[in-house]
Symmetry: C3
Subunit: 139 residues, 3 copies
């Protein structure tokens, strides 16, 4: 069985960003896997990963707008506030969206649907560098 | 190591649907895996998968009611609206719930708890056909 | 390929609990995996697992406060109420957060970021014993 692991680093402004191409370029052994699985994992708790629409950038804008409304930075009952008003909402969004995505591999390619892409979701105002671990395995 | 992949297609009305039996029937090599893992992946961005209570249908009704309240179709700040009022909420619900579930396999069976079932979550009014990729691997 | 599976049982009060050390102690073959993956799966539908900040306990308190506000027990439209007011919110939180986490393994250790820990999230007032299945695989 094949098992490969890669590490990449990102630095993006707050918001939702399409990173499918970046991930595929980093997984240099992807085309040697005939049936398998890919996981992308983010090593942080105030940024996250998800899969969503890869075409219209307004979808990603609406994600940012909606999540800011759903998890408001002025929620009056937060007690973990000393790292900034954007910190606790970032932790919550990170767990709601998740810290990894798993995508099946077939014939050396990701089995993404036509409209699916991988989103990197930066929830902090100044998140800095973010490390991602990509793991692929299969036959 | 064994690696098997299956593809199934669904067409269900908007709402939350139990698909455990359908998934198990499709994975014809499940009983040959002694220790392993199953992933079910949906190739769409306005429908999703999750694991929840497999017994009382009112739970699935309450899921639909609650998610419609949590992600309202009349949210005034959405800008991605040209695909219908049910489209942007469907994208958001899809990322909140997730596009895959992973379930351990032991002795040829899924390690689901007594009350656990796999939900297929159709978030659009007329979602049409939805493709699922099921992958199992193990020894 | 190596494939190991472990089962552990937990009984914790309602709230968010850090269980990284417990999980690592249970996976006795972890240090024999050079490149691989770990999954932790919870066999229940009113408790969940997520990854978040492992340092300040106020983060976990804010998780409990915020999720109780986001999924209120007095939501007037719930029809699945006969198992108690904390039951339906527990099912919803469970699907929003998810029933499993997957963490890459490198050189016999989990690839968690500095601030990442595994949370066990008990959403019921009296959840009782909860079973977790931990699976690791790799080379």
């Amino acid at each position: 069985m094949k098992f490969y692991q890669y590490s990449i680093s990102l630095n993006k402004p707050r918001g939702f960003h399409l990173i499918t191409d970046l991930v595929v370029r980093a997984t240099t052994h992807l085309n040697s896997v005939s049936v398998g699985m890919m996981q992308v994992f983010i090593q942080h708790t105030s940024a996250s990963l998800t899969i969503n629409e890869n075409a219209d950038p307004t979808v990603r804008k609406d994600f940012e707008t909606f999540f800011n409304k759903m998890v408001p930075s002025d929620f009056p009952d937060f007690i973990h506030t000393y790292e900034g008003l954007d910190d606790m909402p970032a932790h919550l969004k990170s767990s709601i969206l998740g810290s990894s995505v798993q995508i099946p591999i077939n014939n050396g390619e990701l089995c993404l649907g036509t409209w699916q892409g991988i989103y990197f979701c930066e929830h902090r105002d100044f998140g800095g560098n973010r490390n991602l671990i990509i793991t692929i395995w299969g036959n």
